[in-house]
């Protein structure tokens, strides 16, 4: 093990650190047991992106052809000439250029009126329901991706989150790892070994620490796999050159200014900042892809994107957030390369927002929203689920986009057809009590 990280690696790390500061985090599960599985199915991959805060479906995929859209939305409507056209009714927000390019190839589709089974309009309840896959909020404390791994057979599982906390969707019996950029730890050093002894009796710290050490190794490979330079791979992760109290690589400006507001104003510097943010988000997607293309790498991953709660000043805020979402997806798509055709990505949120603009240039908590489904192996097709329209009598509680599709149906369809998860196990263990959420079929 040497202590020389290549310059590319260092700058990649600092970019990724910025991504962590943007409220983006990645987690993955997968493992070597899958490598032993047979045939083409063994290469299939799934990435779930959770957009936290209540992402506004009417902005991500504006129904510009719906006769009620412009009037309901007023100043926060996407103009028809700005939207990237999908069909006679729908377009995509102009920031979603990569998604649109994929859509034109039949590799991206929208589900414009989807919702979890929760109707409380509380972020926290609705996110719990989205991540646990339960029919109601309380009583389940494991995530459905974790239970998916359980039913896919016993496996050595990796999990990772850039951002240092473990999201609920990954919590459960199967130990998930997490990772974020920074200096690694030398596994051969004494301290980790001594600590592992001390953690033997600690049910939480023992497994988490072991996973953390393992993930470092994989991270090195992921970071260097994406380096264009054919330089010899440095796998050293120690470099514990402790010249100060900061136990990490020198933090980039975005992180060092820990007070930097996340909401950006529209001046030149903000635009530059946004460009940098996009680049960081793209690298994050590409690094995750780097993990996933490794032999024995994860086949199931989750990404969190914060910042979708747009009660005020929605237009600028969503412009920024959607450009990051687009960048993460672009990074994943290019980073996966050949493996893109074996991958499905679903981006979903806990609930949509009110159909009408509120009094402060934003929208309040609603119900139906848009989910994006992307992948190189998607079958061509139009909307996923029905569009209920925005007619006054079609709105849910005279307020929100009426959901026509249960989120669990989409997830069940993807897990069954794309990942080959046993249908009976889907109904009993991954999404219990979901009989009324019929699996969406024919996506891949």
């Amino acid at each position: 093990m040497t202590a020389q990280a290549s310059p590319q690696t260092t700058s990649r790390r600092s970019l990724l650190l910025q991504a962590a500061g943007l409220g983006v985090s990645v987690s993955f599960l997968g493992g070597s047991a899958f490598a032993a599985a047979d045939g083409a199915m063994a290469r299939r991959k799934l990435v779930v992106i959770i957009c936290r805060g209540g992402m506004d479906g009417l902005t991500i995929s504006p129904p510009i052809g719906d006769p009620d859209y412009a009037a309901l939305r007023g100043a926060v409507a996407v103009a028809p000439d700005q939207a990237l056209k999908l069909d006679g009714t729908f377009g995509l927000h102009p920031a979603l250029q990569s998604v649109h390019a994929l859509a034109l190839k039949g590799q991206a589709r929208i589900a414009p009126a989807i919702a979890s089974p929760d109707r409380a309009r509380s972020h926290f309840e609705a996110q719990d329901v989205l991540e646990t896959g339960a029919a109601q909020v309380y009583g389940v404390n494991t995530g459905w991706l974790n239970r998916t791994l359980e039913v896919m057979g016993p496996s050595k599982v990796e999990g990772l989150s850039v951002g240092a906390t473990a999201p609920l969707i990954l919590r459960g019996k199967v130990q998930a790892a997490s990772w974020s950029p920074g200096k690694g730890v030398d596994e051969a050093a004494r301290l980790p070994t001594l600590l592992q002894d001390l953690y033997k009796a600690d049910p939480l710290m023992g497994p988490a620490f072991a996973r953390g050490l393992e993930t470092e190794t994989m991270a090195q490979a992921a970071m260097t796999a994406l380096n264009p330079a054919p330089a010899p791979v440095s796998t050293d992760t120690t470099a514990m050159n402790t010249s100060g109290m900061t136990p990490q690589v020198a933090a980039p400006p975005a992180v060092a200014q820990a007070m930097a507001p996340t909401a950006m104003t529209q001046d030149a510097r903000a635009i530059a900042g946004q460009r940098q943010g996009r680049e960081a988000a793209r690298k994050l997607g590409a690094t995750l892809a780097g993990f996933m293309v490794q032999d024995g790498g994860p086949r199931i991953a989750a990404i969190s994107l914060d910042g979708w709660d747009t009660h005020a000043g929605q237009v600028g805020q969503l412009n920024t957030r959607l450009s990051y979402l687009d960048a993460v997806l672009d990074g994943l798509n290019t980073g996966l390369g050949e493996e893109w055709r074996n991958t499905v990505v679903v981006a979903a949120t806990e609930f949509g927002r009110t159909a009408r603009v509120n009094g402060t240039g934003g929208t309040d908590h609603g119900t139906g929203s848009t989910a994006l489904v992307l992948g190189g192996g998607l079958r061509k097709g139009g909307l996923i689920g029905d569009w209920p329209t925005l007619r006054p009598d079609a709105l849910f509680e005279n307020r929100d986009v009426r959901p026509t599709l249960d989120m669990r149906g989409l997830f069940k369809g993807v897990l069954a057809d794309h990942m080959g998860v046993d249908r009976a196990a889907l109904e009993t263990r991954v999404f219990p009590d979901s009989a009324d959420a019929k699996p969406v079929s024919g996506l891949v």
């Binding site: 500061g21 989150s161 730890v185 402790t242 136990p247 009660h311």
Partner: protein, 460 residues
């Protein structure tokens, strides 16, 4: 339920109820561990960190910055040095606020009092989602939270809900009643009329008071939001610039019904009456009792403990000093098992406390906390920072904590006696396994890193 030995109780008092033991703290608590904590409860509220400007001064600076920026834009020039300096000043001040609070935490003799204040600051989270809110996050805590943490919950709720930081953070300041005089006037003059924003009303119900399972409906949220219209912040030309201002002309006229009760009051008395009833609700007592028990004792707290805290709240009309006394008195709170896993802030502060030191600069502190997942003044949502071990004890977080511990030890361990440090920091909570590992360590640095990373130090 029997209590542990007074040696163990003294260690628990300093680590679980406090912010980690400073040298001599466990000894000071030994004679009467519960009395040691109860003596820290006082009507005057929490201590105040070394103060900077108040929130009105800060918002005046923000407004000045925004004006300069607009002027610069109008003249077509890029951001000049003046604008840049103003922006940098605002960020530096926010950094100073956070550092002052961390230093108070690292040095205070009344760490239970400080932890109690931090709990309420997190309960009424204000997160730096904009430069304006970031500039007043520190003053908010000093003005709205700290004076009231041992007073009546209702006063704390009103102080939080009428503070500019909260009104800006949750968009209340610009919420306008659709049938208010202001909206009617706007419509008459052909302007776009302002309207309702229900963000703060919803979070008061869901997060600050009765809790999400209290059975309120969307209609209750909307009605409460209507009652709250007019709660705003004075603009530079208003009678109370940059302070709370009730805009009567933005208030939605008429009686409101929230959770089955009718509120005929006019003006700001209406929302204040709703808040009074919310504070008195048994749902609120239960919600707060549960959160406190989770924060101090266990992610799955004993029902008997929650019941005690709830009863103390209801019996005293929501007096938080009585709730604090009930917590200290409860035998369930002294369970020898350390079920709580420290948050990054608690871990960092307790590290400095263990060696009787304090963080030297925000440039040292902020990157550490950001790397560990707890960026200063930046909770991910109005719900505040999580309290569950599962969230913070993630694989990457442990690796990061190890790096921090190694870095910290590299700077300070060479002039310390590791076994003394272990006694100082953990007292009777030190286990033979950790003591042995430290005794066998090759260097002082390794011994100290082992101590900081031990389950006993990571938990409380």
């Amino acid at each position: 339920m029997s209590l542990p030995s007074s040696d163990l109780m003294a260690a628990i008092a300093a680590t679980r109820f406090g912010l980690g033991a400073r040298p001599g703290e466990i000894d000071a608590a030994r004679d009467d561990p519960r009395g040691f904590l109860a003596a820290q409860i006082r009507p005057a509220g929490a201590d105040q960190p070394q103060g900077g400007e108040d929130s009105a001064q800060r918002l005046a600076e923000v407004s000045d910055y925004q004006m300069q920026k607009r002027d610069a834009k109008a003249t077509g020039e890029a951001k000049g040095p003046v604008v840049k300096d103003l922006q940098k000043d605002l960020k530096d001040q926010a950094g100073d606020d956070f550092l002052a609070r961390a230093r108070l935490g690292a040095t205070t003799d009344a760490a239970f009092r400080e932890r109690w204040a931090l709990f309420w600051a997190n309960h009424f989270t204000v997160s730096a989602t904009s430069l304006a809110v970031g500039s007043v996050a520190g003053p908010f805590e000093q003005e709205a939270i700290r004076p009231h943490v041992f007073g009546r919950f209702e006063d704390l709720l009103v102080a939080s809900s009428t503070h500019p930081a909260m009104l800006l953070y949750l968009d209340q300041a610009q919420s306008v009643g659709p049938d208010s005089r202001a909206a009617q006037y706007q419509r008459k003059s052909g302007k776009k009329a302002g309207g309702l924003n229900e963000n703060l009303a919803r979070e008061i119900l869901e997060l600050h008071t009765v809790g999400v399972d209290a059975g309120y409906k969307q209609a209750d949220v909307t009605e409460f939001a209507r009652a709250m219209t007019g709660f705003s912040v004075g603009r530079p030309k208003d009678p109370s610039p940059h302070r709370f201002l009730f805009r009567d002309n933005a208030h939605e006229p008429g009686p409101r019904t929230v959770m089955g009760r009718r509120y005929p009051q006019e003006g700001q008395a209406q929302a204040l009456a709703v808040m009074r009833d919310l504070a008195a609700s048994p749902h609120t007592a239960r919600h707060l009792a549960t959160k406190l028990a989770v924060h101090f004792v266990s992610d799955t707290p004993p029902p008997a403990l929650v019941a005690r805290l709830q009863k103390a709240y209801l019996d005293s009309d929501g007096r938080l000093d009585e709730v604090a006394r009930a917590l200290v008195a409860a035998p369930e709170a002294w369970d020898p098992v350390a079920a709580k896993f420290k948050t990054p802030y608690e871990f960092a502060i307790s590290t400095w406390r263990s060696i009787d030191a304090q963080p030297s600069g925000i440039d040292k502190l902020a990157p550490v906390l950001t790397g560990l997942g707890q960026k200063p003044f930046s909770a991910p949502s109005p719900k505040g920072w999580a309290d569950e071990a599962q969230v913070w004890c993630a694989p990457d977080a442990l690796i990061k904590r190890l790096r921090f511990s190694e870095g910290f030890a590299a700077v300070v361990a060479d002039r310390l006696d590791p076994s003394l440090l272990a006694q100082t920091a953990l007292g009777a909570r030190l286990t033979p396994a950790v003591a042995k590992a430290m005794a066998r360590a090759e260097t002082r640095r390794e011994a100290m890193a082992l101590l900081l990373m031990s389950p006993e130090f990571q938990r409380r």
